[in-house]
């Protein structure tokens, strides 16, 4: 909780709600493992399910120094992940806003960069696109790959501009990623509205 307080006033009510949810998911244990996420029925239909669950266990998101995947997370880690989805407060100043934005973008970046090498390569990007389009059975894999290629090209053009004929674009680094997102309003898009509907929570 100490991670929270300097950043935002997540209300204690919200924390309580999340705690209850955590207990539900973990079946009253202290920690959650990946398997616990299987108990959420709706998540099945989500095309990027794997990546989302993975994001919870990604040590980089948990602000731990090491790298790789954690096996299990406790409530504090759970909250840490949730904190990436806070809506922005009206009273934040420029620096805070900037930091906030970077945090969110970093979270996203980690979702793309599955091998933790700090770059989104073509293969990883393809992976993401394939997953995104996996809900559509009529789309061939090849199309998904071509789309990813196209997107990479675009990214290259934004980030690097004109390239010499022998230059090779390694992958999207975090700075490039930031560049791509310039002008897009992530703060307004990446938040979860905390409307509590108790009945829904109890359905699980």
């Amino acid at each position: 909780l100490s991670a929270f307080s300097p950043h935002s006033p997540v209300t204690s009510e919200q924390i309580e709600h999340l705690h209850r949810r955590f207990k539900q998911l973990s079946r009253d244990q202290l920690t959650i493992r990946k398997e616990n996420f299987d108990s959420i029925p709706d998540l099945e239909f989500n095309p990027i399910r794997g990546k989302i669950v993975h994001a919870f266990f990604d040590k980089r998101n948990l602000r731990q120094e090491s790298d790789g995947l954690a096996d299990e997370i406790n409530f504090e880690d759970f909250l840490t992940i949730m904190s990436y989805f806070r809506p922005i407060e009206m009273n934040m100043d420029e620096e805070q806003l900037d930091r906030f934005r970077k945090e969110k973008l970093k979270f996203l970046f980690h979702m793309y960069d599955s091998d933790h090498d700090g770059k989104i390569t073509l293969q990883e990007y393809r992976n993401v696109v394939e997953e995104l389009l996996s809900g559509n059975p009529h789309l061939e894999k090849e199309s998904a790959r071509s789309i990813a290629d196209g997107a990479m090209m675009e990214a290259a053009s934004i980030c690097v501009g004109q390239m010499g004929p022998d230059q090779v674009y390694e992958g999207i680094t975090f700075d490039d990623f930031l560049k791509m997102w310039q002008g897009i309003d992530i703060e307004t898009k990446m938040h979860v509205r905390f409307l509590t509907m108790e009945t829904i929570a109890h359905c699980y």
């Binding site: 090849e142 071509s146 004929p165 674009y169 938040h191």
Partner: protein, 600 residues
């Protein structure tokens, strides 16, 4: 001429010019005849002039932002319209009570009716300004949604009040009637929407089977929407809302089903019809300014004007204050100011005023004059100044990039949010939308759409990009100029450079194939500008040129698929010259990534 001269739209909205023209025509007629010029009557307006406008508004509505903001929009339009009408009506009644103004024969009902008439907002001019200044989506949506719903609501109110007036002449109205009026309001409104949705489904269903008779597809579309309007009106439910709902429902499925030609026809025809109607209405307005239909009463008119402004501002601030509590991103003061300033009146109020039955309204001319004055004022003064105001206030802008990356990211974000919400056990409208989409995909689309083609937006965007790329490759030959993805405008305006020699049948095939699959997906807000798919033109040009260059290439004995000479110092972005061309589903040529491919 208005659209050709580009400076002019920045100065004043089109409605101004139209009215001016109308006034000019009116002057001419008047001068020559000394008679009042010909005018409209109820049937012409409601049967012929209004439906095309409504249809066009509904059809070209950008559905996703609309539904995302639907809560706020509904909360703003419905109570807003009611508040405005009653507010203005009651205040005017109060004004009329003052003996000195000589208005005491206007009773409450008439004032209320006038209030409802005058609060019919027509912010087309404001929308144009917004689009030009690229204001943020929420703001745009609010005004757009308001204009859409407002017409329906005011007409409903208008009819209710007229019914009241006819019923009771000048006797007391019992409270039961008032309640009945309220109930009627809801029945009419909701009934209209339901009706329209049903019609939309029926027409979508029919278009599923028209693959062999594609010439009648536009006819189907227009006919069904008009039918929904007419039948709703016959049943005394709101035809306007029915037609809007029909158009929205129809669009989604019909778009998938109809052929490219029909689609274009529908688009253009709709725009044409609505332009015609709007022009006619404004011209009528101008024409009737000049004539003997007037009665001037300083008090009434000036108070009307004042009250319109006051009540609009009041309702905006009051309603938004409440709505802001429920929104994650509240509307700022600036936004609210703009919204209240963009309450331009237009054709609807005028038509409604004009159509007041004479026998019930001995002072009809007064109403007409007042309405006209308000319209003139709002259109000219507010219309002209709203542009500078928006720019001055520096309203938050939207960022519309048409890049694949953005599409992918946004899509990812949506899924991510839905996933997180599932995990938290929270509910919000992403879930709702997801659920609707699931339902839609499972049942509706199967029934209503012809063959289920992959219409993922990413794919269509990608195809667009692929064509652009292919065109560029054909045109540039040596160097690709840097495409700036911040605005695809620059891509479209790329001058055609010299031709690369070569191109093979396959490239033509790819282009031809893809041209008939990609649809323009950008929403077209402006009534008068259809986003022309300029790539079509470019691509057609390419096709022609390739026919020439094909001969050349045969001579050169080119064997590379895209005709890229190996020795050209070409910019290779990702060493993937063959990459984009594969999307046509031809399995013949697999994408062979060179050794560098994976490392990019």
């Amino acid at each position: 001429g208005f659209h050709l001269y580009h400076r002019l739209p920045r100065l004043m909205p089109e409605s101004c010019i139209l009215i001016a023209i109308g006034a000019l025509v009116g002057v001419i007629i008047f001068a020559s005849d000394h008679k009042s010029p010909p005018v409209m009557n109820t049937s012409i307006y409601f049967l012929y002039l209004l439906p095309p406008i409504i249809l066009e508004e509904g059809y070209f509505m950008p559905t996703r932002p609309f539904f995302e903001n639907i809560g706020s929009i509904l909360w703003w339009s419905v109570p807003g319209a009611l508040l405005n009408s009653f507010g203005i009506g009651l205040s005017l009644y109060g004004v009329c009570q003052i003996e000195a103004f000589g208005l005491s024969d206007l009773n409450l009902l008439q004032n209320l009716l006038f209030g409802s008439m005058i609060s019919a907002v027509d912010p087309v001019a404001a929308l144009v300004v917004f689009e030009e200044a690229s204001v943020n989506e929420q703001l745009y949506m609010m005004i757009f949604g308001e204009s859409l719903l407002n017409d329906g609501i005011t007409v409903v109110l208008y009819n209710i009040f007229i019914a009241f007036i006819q019923m009771h002449k000048y006797e007391e109205i019992e409270s039961i009637d008032v309640l009945a009026g309220f109930a009627r309001f809801f029945v009419v409104g909701l009934g209209g929407v339901l009706f329209g949705v049903v019609f939309g489904f029926v027409s979508a269903l029919m278009t599923r089977f028209t693959s062999n008779v594609s010439a009648i597809e536009p006819l189907l579309v227009f006919m069904f929407s008009y039918l929904s309007y007419l039948s709703a009106e016959t049943l005394y439910i709101s035809g306007i809302l029915a037609m809007t709902a029909c158009a929205v429902t129809m669009k989604k499925y019909v778009e998938e089903n109809v052929s490219q030609n029909s689609y274009t026809t529908i688009k253009y025809f709709m725009k044409m019809l609505s332009s015609v109607s709007e022009t006619l209405i404004f011209v009528f307005m101008g024409v009737s300014t000049v004539g003997k239909n007037h009665e001037w009463n300083w008090a009434f008119i000036s108070f009307t004007l004042l009250l319109c402004l006051i009540w609009r501002t009041l309702s905006v601030f009051a309603l938004f204050y409440i709505t802001n509590k429920f929104r994650t991103y509240p509307f700022t003061f600036k936004d609210q100011l703009i919204i209240s300033y963009s309450g331009l009146r237009g054709a609807s109020s005028f038509s409604l005023a004009f159509l007041l039955p004479d026998n019930l309204f001995p002072r009809k001319k007064l109403f007409i004059t007042a309405t006209l004055v308000v319209i003139y004022f709002t259109v000219y003064i507010q219309g002209i100044t709203i542009g500078p105001l928006v720019r001055y206030l520096d309203v938050k802008k939207t960022n519309k990039k048409e890049s694949i990356n953005e599409e992918i990211h946004v899509r990812l974000m949506d899924h991510l949010k839905a996933g997180i919400e599932d995990i938290c056990g929270h509910w919000s409208h992403y879930q709702l939308r997801d659920k609707f989409k699931k339902f839609d995909n499972k049942y509706l689309k199967k029934i209503l759409i012809r063959e289920h083609q992959p219409k993922s937006r990413i794919v269509s965007l990608y195809k667009k990009m692929e064509i652009k790329l292919a065109i560029e490759m054909a045109e540039s030959g040596v160097k690709m100029s840097k495409p700036s993805t911040t605005s695809s405008q620059s891509r479209r305006n790329q001058p055609v450079q010299r031709l690369s020699p070569a191109d093979v049948e396959s490239m033509r095939d790819v282009l031809a194939h893809n041209l008939y699959q990609v649809r323009q997906r950008a929403p077209t807000y402006n009534r008068h500008n259809l986003c022309t798919y300029t790539n079509e033109k470019q691509a057609q040009e390419i096709l022609i040129r390739q026919q020439h260059s094909f001969r050349q290439s045969c001579r050169k004995g080119n064997s590379l698929p895209w005709g890229r000479q190996a020795n050209t110092a070409e910019v290779r972005y990702l060493s993937l010259p063959q990459g984009p061309g594969q999307l046509s589903g031809r399995k013949a040529r697999r994408v062979t990534f060179t050794g560098k491919g994976s490392a990019l």
